[in-house]
Amino acid sequence: MTAIVSVKNLTKIYEGGFTALNDVSLDIEQGEILALLGPNGAGKTTLISAICGLVSPTSGTITVGGHDIISEFRAARSLIGLVPQEITIEPFETVINTTKLSRGLFGMKRDDAHIEETLRALSLWDKRKSRNVELSGGMKRRVLIAKALSHEPRVLFLDEPTAGVDVELRRDMWNLVRRLRDDGVTIILTTHYIEEAEEIADRVGVINKGEILLVEDKTSLMSKLGKKQLTIDLQQPVEAIPQSLSSYPLTLGPEGKSLIYGYDTSAERTGITKLLNDLAAAGMTMSDMSTSQSSLEDIFVDLVKEDAP
């Protein structure tokens, strides 16, 4: 795998002195779907804007397809498609002309067949002669995507593509993203929705306060998610874990009222049955029990919380 987008030591301090990005380094591999997760104001959009040339970096370097985004901006930018978070679209022009403009802006020769294909793929063909202002919110978002796809980008940035979008359109977008990936397009999307990252991303990056806290394969993240906890509430509090149970990875709950047992659901044996038998043998009586699973959301919340001052 080679990095198609490489961000090195990127810092962005806005004029007012606000540090939006602090020494961020990130390699995005060719053909992957990377989801950037982070709360509002974490720096997701600034990161994308810096890569796309909308924001000038304070320091650091960015290359796209090996081209520096400043000294070789034409080569770098012609690889990139950007779908912005806000719906910004020329209101009085028609769908098809807006889309054609984008293709031209990116220096590509007129290709009506490609435009038609793009508009059809986004179910916009029937609306091609409508003015943008007449479209619904979801349709406008499709137009933004059509604009980005009109110039056949190799790297596609989707800044919160499914914010405020109905379930059907969200599914459509996910399918579209997968199709594009199959065509070899690298996709970077930002999202608030953990399930979106879980659903389509190959890798997940968590960003907060201008720093990347983690970038990991979704599968290895998922294996962390595979960990479950069994909490056993005891009728009689204990002061210590009995000797006979020392072979289990147990921790004592608050005030000795419960035992907490961590186990791996993907393992062949969870050891729960044996533990419960041994508990009974040790003369302990349970009042209740519950299990919990850490989700990507928990990991995310923990990461972001740890990061708080």
Binding site: Y14, E15, S49, C52, G53, L54, V55, S56, F73, R74, A75, A76, R77, S78, I80, L82, P84, E86, T88, I89, E90, P91, F92, E93, N97, K100, L101, S102, R103, G104, L105, F106, G107, M108, K109, K147
Partner: protein, 253 residues
């Protein structure tokens, strides 16, 4: 240069012109006709010929310049301000195009539209007055140079403006007075000597004078100076554009 991009911007902007044809073309033509009726026929019939030129004809170059200047400034300033206002400028900034490409596309379209309207007004005016053009090549040279220069100026205003009010401010408070006081409707020789000197500081005077010379060979200042002044103003605008490009002023964080 990214020619496809320049062509795309140009076409998109021209499409706006044709989409709003009534507003873009009909209204300047109508207001020019009104000027002819008021200044040319009603008042003009009581005014003597100026340097051998009938007053109705004398004001034609001034009227064309008036429209050319205001149209160039408003087309170009609106053209670039609107994407800033609605946010579509993100695409211009993220496209593989340089600021020069953007300027050529927008200014080219704004100037084209202004020249188109100027020519329509010229054609309209032949219905009212007997018109002869002594130096058509120079007339077109002044027309194009002025349209390009003031479209650049408009582009700068569009970049500078933070709201619609500011967008209107310069055309209203600067361009209009300069045009009216720049000898569009009179020869500065008709003014008291002190005001003649003041008028020489008005850049529009040189445009109108040079343009009028290309029609009637009658001018307030020599045509060479007129041409030089247009070029100076063009150079100033290009310098400002270059500075905006270097600093990303009001377009990029």
């Amino acid at each position: 240069m990214n020619w496809y991009a320049i062509a795309a911007i140009y076409k998109f902007e021209m499409a706006r012109t044709f989409r709003t044809l009534a507003q873009s073309v009909a209204s300047p033509v109508l207001s020019t006709i009104l000027y002819f009726v008021v200044f040319g026929s009603a008042i003009g019939s009581r005014i003597d010929d100026i340097e051998g030129v009938q007053y109705g004809a004398f004001i034609v170059p001034g009227l064309i310049m008036l429209t050319l200047l205001t149209q160039s400034v408003s087309n170009a300033s609106f053209g670039i301000y609107f994407p800033k206002f609605i946010g579509t400028i993100y695409e211009l900034l993220s496209a593989p195009i340089s600021f020069i490409d953007i300027v050529v596309g927008f200014v080219g379209a704004a100037a084209t539209k202004a020249v188109m309207i100027a020519l329509i007004i010229l054609a309209t005016s032949t219905f009212f007055v007997d018109l002869q053009i002594a130096h058509p090549v120079w007339m077109f040279a002044f027309l194009f140079l002025t349209a390009i220069t003031f479209s650049l100026f408009g582009f700068i205003i569009g970049i500078w403006a933070k709201n619609f009010e500011q967008l209107q401010l310069i055309p209203l408070l600067v361009i209009t007075p300069l045009v009216f006081l720049g000898g569009s409707f009179y020869s500065i020789s008709m003014l008291p000597p002190a005001w003649q000197t003041v008028s020489l500081f008005n850049p529009v005077l040189y445009l109108v004078s040079g343009f009028r010379w290309s029609f009637f060979e009658v001018a307030d200042v020599s045509v060479g100076i007129s041409l030089a002044m247009v070029c100076v103003f063009l150079a100033l605008c290009l310098t400002a554009i270059w500075w905006i490009f270097k600093t990303g002023y009001r377009i990029k964080n």
